[in-house]
C-alpha cells in the first residue's frame, strides 16, 4: 500500500531523513519510534509532501507520489493526524469534521462512514455543536482521528497520538486504531512510547539520526537492551 524507498529529506543543508525504507500494507500497523530529533515527524511530513522529498521515492499502491502538493497527497488517500492534533479550536466539532471532507475523493458511502465514525468515537456526535477548543485533550485526539477518517483514507499516519493523554484514553485511541486497521487501512504510527507501540504494532522500526537502525516484532518489544542500543546509535 505505502512504500518508502530510500527516502531522504533535509532542512537546508541539514539532512534529517537519510535513506529511510519501509512498507505498510493494508490492514497493518507499523510503528516508528526513536528519540527526539530522529526524523520521525519529518518522515511523515515528507510522505505528505509538506517537506520536499530530497531523494528516494514515496509510492502509494505502486505509484510514485513524491513531489505532489500536500492537498493532492491527501486526495490520493493519505491522511495525517498531526502532532498536537491541530484541532481548529474556534470551529465547532461538526465543522472540524466537515473539514475532513476536503480530502475525500467521493461522497459515496459517506453516510455509512459517518455512522461508523460516530460509533467509533461517540464523543464527536455528543458534542457536535460545541467549540472544539472546549473539548478535553483526549476528546480532541478522538476528533482529530475522526476528522482524518472522514476523508476515507487508505493510509493513516499518526504523529504521537498518545502525547499528553491519560492511560485510559490511550487505550481508547489504540482500540480505535485496531478497528480502523480491521477496515483494511494501512497505519503508520509515530510514537515516543517505545514499548507500548512495539507491543501493539505488527512491526516497529527504530529511527535514530535519520536512519532506521532496527526493526522489532511484538515479541521483541521487551528487549529493552536492544532498543536502547538502537536509540543511542
Amino acid at each position: 500500500m505505502l512504500e518508502l524507498d530510500r527516502v531522504e529529506a533535509r532542512y537546508g543543508a541539514i539532512s534529517v531523513v537519510r535513506g529511510v525504507s519501509l512498507t505498510v500494507a493494508g490492514g497493518e500497523i507499523v510503528g516508528l519510534i526513536g528519540p527526539n530529533g530522529a526524523g520521525k515527524t519529518t518522515t511523515l511530513l515528507t510522505i505528505m509532501g509538506e517537506v520536499p522529498c530530497a531523494g528516494g521515492v514515496v509510492r502509494l499502491r505502486g505509484k510514485a507520489i513524491s513531489g505532489l502538493p500536500t492537498e493532492a497527497t491527501v486526495r490520493r488517500g493519505i491522511a495525517l493526524v498531526p502532532e498536537g492534533r491541530h484541532i481548529f479550536a474556534n470551529l465547532t466539532v461538526a465543522e472540524n469534521l466537515r473539514l475532513g471532507l476536503a480530502g475525500r475523493q467521493s461522497r459515496d458511502g459517506l453516510d455509512a462512514d459517518m455512522d461508523w465514525i460516530h460509533g467509533l468515537f461517540p464523543v464527536v456526535g455528543q458534542f457536535r455543536e460545541r467549540p472544539a477548543g472546549a473539548l478535553s485533550g483526549g476528546q480532541q485526539q478522538q476528533l482529530a482521528i475522526a476528522r482524518a477518517m472522514i476523508a476515507a483514507p487508505t493510509v493513516l499516519l499518526l504523529d504521537e497520538p498518545s502525547l499528553g493523554l491519560a492511560p485510559s484514553v490511550i487505550d481508547t485511541v489504540l482500540g480505535a486504531l485496531s478497528d480502523i486497521r480491521a477496515r483494511g487501512v494501512a497505519i503508520l504510527l509515530v510514537e515516543q512510547r517505545a514499548q507500548l507501540i512495539a507491543g501493539f504494532a505488527d512491526r516497529t522500526h527504530v529511527l535514530s539520526n535519520g536512519r532506521i537502525r532496527m526493526s522489532l516484532t511484538p515479541d521483541e518489544a521487551q528487549d529493552t537492551d536492544r532498543m536502547i542500543a538502537a536509540y543511542l546509535a
Binding site: T70, E71, H86, R98, A102
Partner: protein, 295 residues
C-alpha cells in the same frame, strides 16, 4: 435633528470603510498579508466606470465588478502566488510594488488629471423626511454595508469555501494537511476582496466623481488603520475597526471648526497610535490576547 443627520451620515461613511476593511481582513486572514494593492482595485473599478460611461448603466456596473474581481485574482496569481512561503517582509514589499506599478499604469493611461465618472450622480439627490435630509447615496451605503457584511458572514459560515477560509485563517498548514486547497481558498479571498472593492468604487464615485491615480489610496489607508485598530486578525474586529474609523472621520469632518479640520487625520492617527500602544492586538481584540505578527 442636525445631530441625528450627522450620525446617520457618519454611519454610512463607516459602512463604506468597513467594506474596505473586510476586503483587507479576508486576505490577511488566509495569507497573513496586508494587501496594499486593495486601493488600486478601487481605483481600477473607478476608471472602468469612466471608460464605460457611455454604455448602459447596468453594463458599466457589471464591467466594474468584472474588472475589480479579475484584477484581484490576477494580482494574486501573478505577484503573490510565486512568493508564497517567502518571508513576510518580501510579500509586504511585493504588495507595495504591485500598488506602485498599478498607480504608474493609471498615470500613463489616464494622466494625473482627474477623469469624471459620474454615472451614479443621481444618488446625490436628497430624500427628505421631516427636517431630515438624506442623500440617496447615504441610504445606499447603509443598505450595501448591511447586505454585504451580512453576505460575507453567510458565505463564511454557511458554505464549504467559507469553512475552508475560516480554517485556513486559523491554521493554514493544518487546513492543507486535511486536503483544503490553498490556491482555491486564497483565490476566493482575493475574489471577495475584489467584489467589495467594486462596491466601494461605485459608492465612492458618487461622492467624488473625479477619479485620479490615487483615488482608492486614502480610503484604503484609513480603512487599514481602522482594521488594525480593531484587530485585523479577526474579521469582526477588523470590520468594526474600519467602521469606527470612518464614523470618527466623518464626525470630526463635520464638527471640527474649519481652521482645525485639516488636522483631523492627524488627530485620528494620534489616537490610533495611543490605542495600539496600550492594546497592540487591537482595541476590540479579546482581553489578554497578545499582538499578532503583522507584516
Amino acid at each position: 435633528m442636525q445631530t441625528i443627520q450627522a450620525i446617520i451620515d457618519a454611519i454610512a461613511v463607516g459602512a463604506l470603510y468597513a467594506l474596505v476593511a473586510v476586503g483587507l481582513a479576508l486576505v490577511f486572514g488566509v495569507m497573513r498579508l496586508i494587501n496594499f494593492a486593495q486601493g488600486e482595485l478601487i481605483t481600477a473599478g473607478a476608471y472602468s466606470l469612466y471608460l464605460t460611461r457611455n454604455l448602459p448603466l447596468v453594463v458599466s456596473i457589471v464591467v466594474c465588478f468584472v474588472v475589480c474581481v479579475a484584477l484581484a485574482v490576477a494580482i494574486e496569481r501573478v505577484a503573490f502566488r510565486p512568493l508564497r512561503g517567502a518571508s513576510p517582509a518580501t510579500t509586504l514589499v511585493a504588495t507595495f510594488a504591485v500598488a506602485f506599478a498599478l498607480e504608474a499604469v493609471w498615470l500613463i493611461a489616464f494622466t494625473p488629471q482627474g477623469k469624471t465618472a459620474d454615472l451614479l450622480s443621481a444618488l446625490n439627490r436628497t430624500a427628505t423626511h421631516g427636517s431630515l435630509h438624506l442623500r440617496w447615496v447615504t441610504i445606499t451605503e447603509l443598505v450595501a454595508g448591511v447586505v454585504l457584511l451580512g453576505g460575507t458572514v453567510l458565505v463564511l459560515n454557511r458554505t464549504t469555501i467559507g469553512l475552508h477560509m475560516r480554517a485556513a485563517a486559523s491554521d493554514f498548514r493544518a487546513a492543507r494537511l486535511l486536503g483544503v486547497r490553498a490556491d482555491r481558498v486564497i483565490r476566493a479571498a482575493f475574489a471577495m476582496s475584489g467584489f467589495l472593492a467594486a462596491v466601494v468604487s461605485l459608492l465612492l464615485t458618487v461622492q467624488q466623481p473625479l477619479v485620479t491615480p490615487t483615488f482608492g489610496l486614502d480610503v484604503t489607508i484609513l480603512a487599514l488603520v481602522g482594521a488594525v485598530l480593531g484587530g485585523i486578525d479577526r474579521l469582526a474586529t477588523a470590520t468594526a475597526g474600519g467602521f469606527l474609523i470612518g464614523f470618527i472621520s466623518s464626525i470630526l469632518g463635520d464638527e471640527l471648526p474649519a481652521s482645525l479640520s485639516n488636522f483631523a487625520p492627524s488627530f485620528t492617527f494620534l489616537v490610533v497610535i495611543l490605542v495600539l500602544l496600550i492594546r497592540p492586538a487591537g482595541l476590540l481584540a479579546p482581553l489578554g490576547q497578545s499582538g499578532v505578527d503583522r507584516v
